[in-house]
């Protein structure tokens, strides 16, 4: 196995995720794109774990999953609250705060 294709794949996924955060307007989809970024990082971590020959990378990926789970709960709770208040989950609708 060679490392490079895996890392490039993770880089591409990470980029797509970050572009998605910037272009999508729906808060839930934005959040999904963030999850995509985390997943891309996990791929890199697991690949590097194999390349470096130690399991620290896999542990880190495991931690990212735990963190993501907690983040999702908090994040979706916040999004739900906003939605219930404003009946919309679009990021731009939340625009009482301006520059």
């Amino acid at each position: 196995m060679s490392t490079e294709p895996y890392i490039l794949l993770s880089a591409i996924l990470f980029t797509i995720g970050s572009v998605g955060v910037l272009v999508r307007r729906n808060a839930i989809v934005v959040f999904m794109c963030i999850e995509l970024m985390l997943n891309a990082s996990n791929l890199a971590l697991v690949t590097f774990a194999k390349a470096n020959g130690n399991l620290d990378g896999q542990i880190a990926a495991f931690f990212v999953m735990v963190v993501a789970a907690a983040e999702v709960v908090v994040g979706l709770a916040i999004i739900m609250t906003i939605f219930r208040t404003r009946r919309s989950a679009s990021v731009d609708d939340a625009s009482l705060l301006k520059y």
Binding site: M1, L9, I28, G53, V73, A77, I78, M80, D92
Partner: protein, 267 residues
Amino acid sequence: MTVFWILAPIMVLAALCILFVRKAVHAALLLAVVMMSLAMLYASLDAPFLFAVQIIVYTGAILMLFLFVLMLVGVDASDSVVETIRGQRLLATVLGLVFGATLVIGLSQVTWGTVVGLDEANAGGNVPALANLLFSKYIFAFEATSALLITAAVGAMVLAHREKLTPKEKQPEAAARRMREYAETGRHPGPLPAPGVFARHNAVDTPALLPDGSPSQESISRVLAARGTIRSASVDDVDDVQRQLSATESSESSESSDRADEQEDGQ
């Protein structure tokens, strides 16, 4: 590597589609594709434990939570096409492409050392080896994640759980209240009228017509009204229907369908 070359294009394609699909549900399903593929990649990278966790935690729990919230929010909550900051999307895309190009070019210039492989580290089995690390070297980080989980639980409770401050209204109280309201404000005490029963469209998105021919706004769901997917119905429709009926008697059915189309356009 075969697994990789099969999965990689699928993943990139699915990820790209997340950027373009209109509906959030579709995005979630595409994300599921990426995550499942990732799980398989983990398996091929000597990480069987993560393979399982990825499927159980990510695809099983996190994604389900996403779908759950999407259902609560409304399945067709879609993006608005209107940009609030002009050129923001274009700028973001350009920035993202530049960033991605830097990342990819930078990483592809790296000279990769030999892959050590995990045969030695995984000698006693992947799961015991991970457990060994987790409960020795990373024990503190592991403990600290408990704070995260507690926070998440407390947070969800705070934001979503509503305590009952008043005793639940039972049927007798409800009836009494309705009558009282009727006496005070004249609000109709009975159930709301059903939608669309009098019109041609026996459907929930069409208001019922009152005896005088005007549509009853109370007969339709508020949610549908908010989404703007209500068909209108008016007194004229009744006349139309009558005319239509008499016309059907005289002429053939083809004409009548034409007229129905026209009528639809007119609305």
